[in-house]
């Protein structure tokens, strides 16, 4: 920022500092977006165009890789599986985690802090250490390769995540809101559902979206707990990446990678408008 910016703020758009910031923004965007761009680009290349050196930006695009791997990697079923698992674990976690977060934020309970901390600490356990015991338990219960298994497994890390985020939202709300609702005729539950939840909706929604994205891209549990029927998209990518008999199959990797990312981007764009509107409406000033 230039030192005299405040004095001429009415035409701040023209100051050098402002231009520099725009340039920096463009640069950062390029750094983050280029790999995605390259992935999408590569997915439409033929095998010969992928390895040209220097890399080419102009080529004859083909859908061949997509066609082949939609079938070979069973993509449609995996996408359906991933949607079921992401939505299922996201919704389950948001319901349980929001209510747990509310309890931690508001209910005067001996040891509430400790309970919260222990639940948070459980996130410190490396997932790999949990995956194998989970697999053994699932096998004993006859639950391997089922959607519900992944939904429950993902909830083990999503619930603490939701709980802590929502607890923060609730702590930021004045407790007089519920008290007022309780005097106005609500029970504690009524106050939560009629007053607190509607106010927290933007936070709730963004937490839900992040949870679903975390579930969407989860690999380790999916790898261990499923094999065919309930297998998800990241498992397919891992399979292609691990299949190095003929050297890395970049065409297939980028094609399936694109298929994985595109729904997330579309989803994020769809809810983004809604999210921003929600944030503006729900501002809790006053």
């Amino acid at each position: 920022m230039s030192a005299r910016a405040p004095a001429v703020s009415y035409d701040a758009r023209n100051t050098l500092g402002h231009r520099l910031r725009i340039l920096a923004g463009i640069f950062v965007s390029i750094v983050f977006l280029f790999p995605i761009y390259w992935m999408v680009l590569t997915s439409f290349k033929q095998q010969v165009d992928i390895f040209t050196n220097p890399p080419t930006f102009f080529f004859e695009p083909t859908l061949a890789t997509y066609k082949e791997y939609m079938r070979r990697a069973d993509i449609v079923r995996r996408i359906v599986n991933t949607i079921i698992v992401a939505a299922g674990s996201g919704l389950l976690s948001i319901v349980v985690g929001t209510m747990a977060g509310y309890a931690l934020a508001r209910i005067r309970l001996r040891g509430a802090g400790t309970i919260g901390l222990i639940i948070l600490l459980s996130r410190g356990v490396p997932p790999i250490a949990l995956a194998v015991p989970m697999f053994l338990v699932a096998r004993k219960l006859g639950l391997t390769d089922k959607h519900i298994t992944l939904i429950l497994a993902y909830s083990t890390f999503l619930i603490p995540y939701v709980m802590w985020l929502m607890r923060g939202f609730f702590l930021a709300l004045p407790k007089e809101l519920e008290e007022s609702a309780m005097i106005d005729g609500c029970s504690r539950y009524g106050a939560f559902f009629k007053i607190i939840l509607p106010i927290s909706l933007p936070g709730l929604l963004s937490t839900l979206i992040f949870s679903m994205i975390l579930a969407w891209e989860e690999l380790l549990f999916a790898l261990v707990l499923t094999n065919r029927y309930a297998s998800t998209i990241p498992v397919a990518i891992a399979g292609i990446a691990g299949d190095t008999v003929n050297g890395a199959n970049w065409g297939a990797l980028t094609a399936v990678g694109t298929i994985t990312v595109v729904p997330v981007v579309i989803f994020a764009l769809l809810v983004q408008k809604w999210l921003i509107k929600g944030l503006a409406d729900g501002a809790t000033k006053g």
Binding site: L177, E179, I183, I199
Partner: protein
């Protein structure tokens, strides 16, 4: 029936006791102010009446029904909070109608009562706004409107005016008083501002450290404070205090051996006393206690003089104007009824009594 009986009520948070047996009897239609310094337990007591805090000991009865284990929603009370606690996602109309909605009052009836309350409070043009589109004063009115549409047994106010600027506070104070005279609903009003308490209430309860120091009509507290604390808390500018020893012939020997002649004798015949005289009860006269003027502050209608009496600063309030100048030697007379006697004790420090 809007009577409220508070009997030997105690409150502890863990091992810390914050209310030590409070008893107050409030009649139907009465306006009672709970006043006291910060941390004395006013809000805690009010929240116990509302049912927002559990009762550790004693009973609270509203309309002759003990409500110790009754949920807030079933106590038929309405409360106005210091931060107003308006529902941010509802517009003014729905904020005010929410309680009636919860009680399944028919829609036309809700609309009628909301409109009536809005008319009384001058909120008609704001009914469709969200709370964040209102000024502080307007939010305060909406919070009051939300309370009055309920037509409850008891109104509870917890420092409802403390977030407003001084001018608006005085205006809302009159409106609250007018509202009470119109609705005649039992009201319990918490404030740390003694002027607010004195001007609004039929009866003032002065609390200190979790006990009731004194209760009574405002002027009784002013005229006959039962303790040094109440004497120092009620009245603005605060009462002047002098400590000393009673000697023969109605004299008071101060620490520096100055002897002041007292116009009246201590009814309790103590040897060591603290005497109190309100600034407005000093009269500049031919004879009396000798003092030296140090500051003269005229406001037009009255003049406040700070003077030095036997090494101590005292405050004198005279009506109208005065010819006294800094450095003048003056004599101060006090009529017998205007001198108060207390046990000799350190003068309570009350910053809050003056921030009105």
């Amino acid at each position: 029936m809007g009577t409220v009986q508070i009997r030997e009520v105690r409150k502890s948070y863990g091992a810390v006791q914050v209310l030590h047996g409070i008893s107050i009897d409030i009649e139907d239609g009465e306006f009672v102010a709970l006043v006291g310094p910060s941390g004395c337990g006013k809000s805690t007591l009010l929240r116990m009446i509302a049912g927002l805090e559990s009762i550790s000991g004693g009973d609270i009865a509203i309309g002759n029904r003990v409500v110790n284990n009754v949920a807030p929603k079933d106590r038929d009370i309405a409360m106005v909070f210091q931060n107003y606690a308006l529902y941010p996602h509802k517009n003014v109309r729905d904020n005010m109608g929410f309680a009636l909605q919860q009680r399944r009052v028919p829609k036309p009836e809700i609309a009628k009562r909301v409109n009536e309350a809005a008319r009384i409070l001058g909120l008609e043009h704001l009914l469709d706004r969200k709370p964040r589109q209102l000024s502080g004063g307007q939010r305060q009115r909406v919070a009051m409107g939300r309370a009055i549409v309920r037509d409850p047994n008891v109104f509870l106010f917890d420092e409802p005016l403390s977030n407003l600027d001084a001018k608006l506070r005085v205006q809302m104070r009159s409106e609250i008083k007018e509202l009470h005279q119109r609705l005649k609903t039992t009201t319990i009003y918490v404030t740390h501002d003694q002027i607010e308490a004195m001007t609004l209430a039929d009866r003032v309860v002065v609390m200190n450290g979790g006990v009731v120091e004194q209760e009574g009509p405002p002027l009784e507290l002013y005229d006959r404070p039962a303790s040094l604390f109440v004497a120092a808390f009620i009245g603005s500018p605060p009462m002047n205090f002098l400590q000393g020893q009673i000697i023969e012939g109605n004299g008071l020997r101060l620490e520096d051996n100055t002897v002041l002649g007292l116009p009246a004798a201590d009814p309790k015949q103590r040897r060591q006393v603290t005497i109190g005289v309100r600034p407005e009860h000093f009269v500049i006269a031919e004879t009396g206690w000798p003092a030296t003027v140090s500051i003269v502050e005229p406001t037009g209608s009255e003049t406040q003089i700070t003077a030095r009496l036997a090494g101590q600063l005292i405050r004198i309030l005279v009506r109208g104007r005065t010819s006294a100048m800094p450095g003048d030697e003056i004599r101060l007379a006090v009529t017998p009824g205007d001198i108060h006697f207390f046990d000799a004790a350190p003068i309570p420090e009350l910053a809050s009594a003056e921030d009105a």
